[in-house]
Symmetry: D3
Subunit: 241 residues, 6 copies
């Protein structure tokens, strides 16, 4: 079964992925991640405090905030700061990023610190949340290494890697890493977060058109597994660089 993806990619082919560390200079970790034309700046900030519900428990916290520059998209969207609140989509995405990254860190070993991952979309072309998770992982590692180098923590609290990709059914064919053209015209859209051991961390699938079947779910998760394995390699390369 073949279908022409708008980009000409094969069904299981990711867009060009770039992970640029040290993109800005102040943050303890700062990564510009690109999935094709989607570009997200992910910074990791270390602070020596934890939210109220964790005070005095000897544990740290990892959290995320997500934003989209007003003209990251085809038409300008309102600035959330000017409107006075973050929309439901924004809150949903930043909760997803935070939960995903907490799945690879031993919060006891982190100690009473908070690492905040700010994921700001400079340019959007589909898959901003999966790019954000994939880039934020690298920023998180850099921030943790910064703590280790300064002797603030003894052992590395990070176990395993976390990456994410979208999969979907586009004109009847399961495909990976949807761009905007596919995303706005597909039947099913699923975001998958996995670790480098092949375990699922988050799975969020939505039938946009027809309901999807068990076999389609299996095909999509298989594509996601392969794509995420590739993304984890890219993360390793970037961290080795």
């Amino acid at each position: 079964m073949t279908v022409a993806r708008p980009s000409g990619r094969a069904p299981g082919q990711l867009r060009e992925v770039r992970i640029q560390r040290g993109y800005t200079q102040h943050a303890e970790g700062s990564v510009l991640v690109s999935f094709g034309d989607t570009r997200v700046l992910c910074t990791a900030s270390v602070e020596n405090r934890v939210p109220a519900f964790l005070r005095g428990k000897g544990e740290g916290w990892v959290t995320a905030e997500y934003g989209m520059l007003p003209r990251a998209t085809h038409t300008r969207s309102d600035r959330e700061a000017a409107r006075g609140k973050q929309g439901g989509r924004t809150l949903e995405i930043q909760r997803l990023i935070g939960r995903s990254l907490r799945a690879c860190i031993d919060r006891k070993a982190l100690g009473e610190r908070t690492i905040t991952l700010d994921c700001d979309v400079l340019q959007a072309d589909g898959g901003t949340r999966t790019a954000a998770i994939t880039g934020a992982y690298v920023a998180l590692v850099d921030a943790v290494q910064w703590l280790i180098k300064r002797g603030e923590i003894k052992r590395d609290p990070i176990f395993g890697a976390i990456a994410a990709v979208s999969v979907g059914i586009y004109r009847g064919v399961p495909v990976v890493d949807l761009d905007y053209a596919e995303d706005s015209d597909c039947d099913t859209d699923m975001n998958v977060v996995m670790n480098d051991g092949g375990g699922f961390i988050e799975l969020q699938g939505t039938a946009e058109g027809h309901a999807f079947r068990r076999e389609e779910l299996a095909a999509m998760t298989a594509l996601a597994e392969a794509g995420i394995a590739e993304l984890v390699s890219k993360q390793r390369e970037a961290l080795a660089g």
Copy 2:
């Protein structure tokens, strides 16, 4: 493999489900749904207007709002109206309910009307969003029937039924319809929305402890399919009653 569920239920056993129509008198549809001790009041309100982005297109809209009474839970939570905003969890849930129910309605056939599903949790014991979706479907049908009886719409815009259930891995065992005791102590928690044709509408899984594997995903979706089939029967009984 056996495990004692706190409630003594079998892994594939739902809690007692009750669907009480006409619970309040003003709404076009009004359903009190109970999944065990979880009780959600779902009302469907018909209004002759649509959101700005749909004006003049001859299509209707179905949307949802979700709320939790402050003392629906073990300890009192802040009233969102008093805090001045809805939290991320609330927005996420009401977006899910709205998307799920839009998957069973022909919005052209509905005409330029909005049906709002208000899902308010009177008492919470796990699974409030799945109970809300299951109950809101019945309220939606009642509201549509009200429109048909008044001659405002000609043909039934609803195709198929929508129901939802949670599944998870509790102490290593896949189980269906988690109550609070299980929910707060499980490794994986997944909310599944399906139609009566066995197609998936939404799938949202989160690894709370260990990442979950492909086989666990399959076991959970199988449990969800069976549970949702049972819920759809309950909906039919209620609507026939």
Copy 3:
């Protein structure tokens, strides 16, 4: 002087009043109160903290919050949590409920605790604030008894009972406990809160049409006294049950 009340009731006749304790299971006090078709869920929540202005003074606090489910009314009203603020009417009512109930409790004897009375209207047919006060009193007693049973407080801080009813001039005739049909078509509407000793706690009268005269005031307060005596009996029965 006779007038046909829409409900067929006599001028001094209350609607059917029901007070159902233990309506939900988590709150220390939980009461569903009905004045005819008006149904309000009143929960009392005990917390071991007091507002900042009372810290360290050895006194407790009793406060109230009020909400109306969006479709408790004939037409759907906006959800206050979604609008981002509580309206003036809501704030006015919750301040009234809080003040009323603080009039029957010795806050020193309560100790440094807060009891919050959440009054949520499930269905509205006039008189929601008076039903809320009448039901919240019972929930408050239950919460205080819970504290006494656990040995957390020694002596009962509650002195006397508090109940409330509306009175008004409907088509020239003073009547008690107005339902929505009367409320929206009356000349004067007054909410009266009294204790079981026949003393006035709050009196809030508004001339909707003609200004009311001294004699009308006297007739209305007399009706209120009788109605509240009856409500206090209902509270006693419920608490004895």
Copy 4:
């Protein structure tokens, strides 16, 4: 029965009342009203539009907003504009002022216009809401006269006068027009709004200490009647001036 009022006034004696018209120059009506040391600036602004619920009905609207300068009081209170919302007390008062003044105007005769009464407390010493109502009435008359002089409306839409005063039980004695010293130490506090025909428009009584009895209510309303008659004379003098 005698008691020393802190101010040395007799129980039925008002504070010195001054009503200064034309206090500021831009508003169609602008009145500085003083009840002793309580000083409130009341402006009436005419606008050729009505709220959405009145559009096209050929009726006007009268509404009020109330504010307290941060240092009108003994200790500085937060600026509501800076806090981002008006408090419950503010909303309650401005709703009261608006309702009170709508009781003396024929909104059909006003035509599709809104008159907004802004009541801003420059200095507070008890009774700010009653002073505001009494002063706002004069500002309203001035604004209506401005409309009549410009030929925008034909017949005077105002029938009767509206004034307000507080009464209370101070150390067992019914007194009128409480200042701050009395207000913060009294058993009962009641705000009474009446028209010049001796009819009650609003009555809001609160037992701060003991519940008040029927006889006390009668004594307080009698004091209010006399006080309001005096205030209406002051309004007439000011308007004749």
Copy 5:
């Protein structure tokens, strides 16, 4: 070069300036300042606490808040408290007032106290921010004297005086202290804050029409210097009074 200023004033002539101390009674400093028809009530409130960023540093803080009564202007503007936020213009002005007055006070000598300057415009005719700064300085001195008289601080923390005036290019001619008629029709508008030593504290110039030239800047600052010297004399007179 001559031009008829709408008010008939000479280019370098200020409007009539009045500085009335003790305008209200509760604040530690309370000044009604008038620049012609512009009237601003400036109160200074002393509180024994400092913002979080200064705690424990042995320094005080001086800050300002600015407000405009809704009908201080020709047409009614929305009440910021009702809109739920202070506008950009308000925030800009109150930041300017605060910075200006911090330039004349030794915050170490003030000790851990905050003085808040509330500047509320009762009537606006151009130049409200410069009147506010000029009046707030006098209120600040009064508040500091109050602290000194009570023995709470030993040495006067105020060094020098601060005053402000607007200058502009009106129909080609540099003029001082623009009223509303000039302000809304001028090419350049500049607000200048200086101390009594002739030093500039703040300079904020905006070309409304043509860009202004170096020579015009010089002419405007010269006018400002003369005007501010006159204002400082008025402040001295008022403080001596």
Copy 6:
């Protein structure tokens, strides 16, 4: 007079300035501007609507919004969208950018369109508002050229160029284009906006330490003139590129 600037620059020397057009692809104008380590993304978005106050007048509007990514700075600052409002500094800066750019455009010639300049700081090292103005001008030109190329407007509405730079007194010496190290340790900080004809558009000077004198003002404005001339050349080069 010599002083070591932390960067080693001469007093009149700008940092390295880069202006990169087409940085993102969706906006009608998109410029990444760098003043040394300060990097601001400026996008210009064209929309076919104008604010309410301009509707039907045949004029366009140019406005700006400003934001700072949370970790653009040395320590993370709160995300304004999450806090629910834009701070005073943000509002002040975006008002400044908007006013500045409106000074170079004929709004009649633009027609009923709005061009919004979003200036988002990716990395901050002092001078973000002056970099933003300088970059936004280039984005504005690109957006206008886009309109011209599409034939939507006939004649170029832009007259002249606008650029901005900061000047200050650092350790007694007037310097241009302060970086963060200078900015946080200088006596006077002034932001100057000029056009390419050498006229002043905006001048905002603040004495952080000592009040500044007339001669210092002259020295600073002279430095600004030279710096801005250089920036205008850079803009021309970029636009020619």
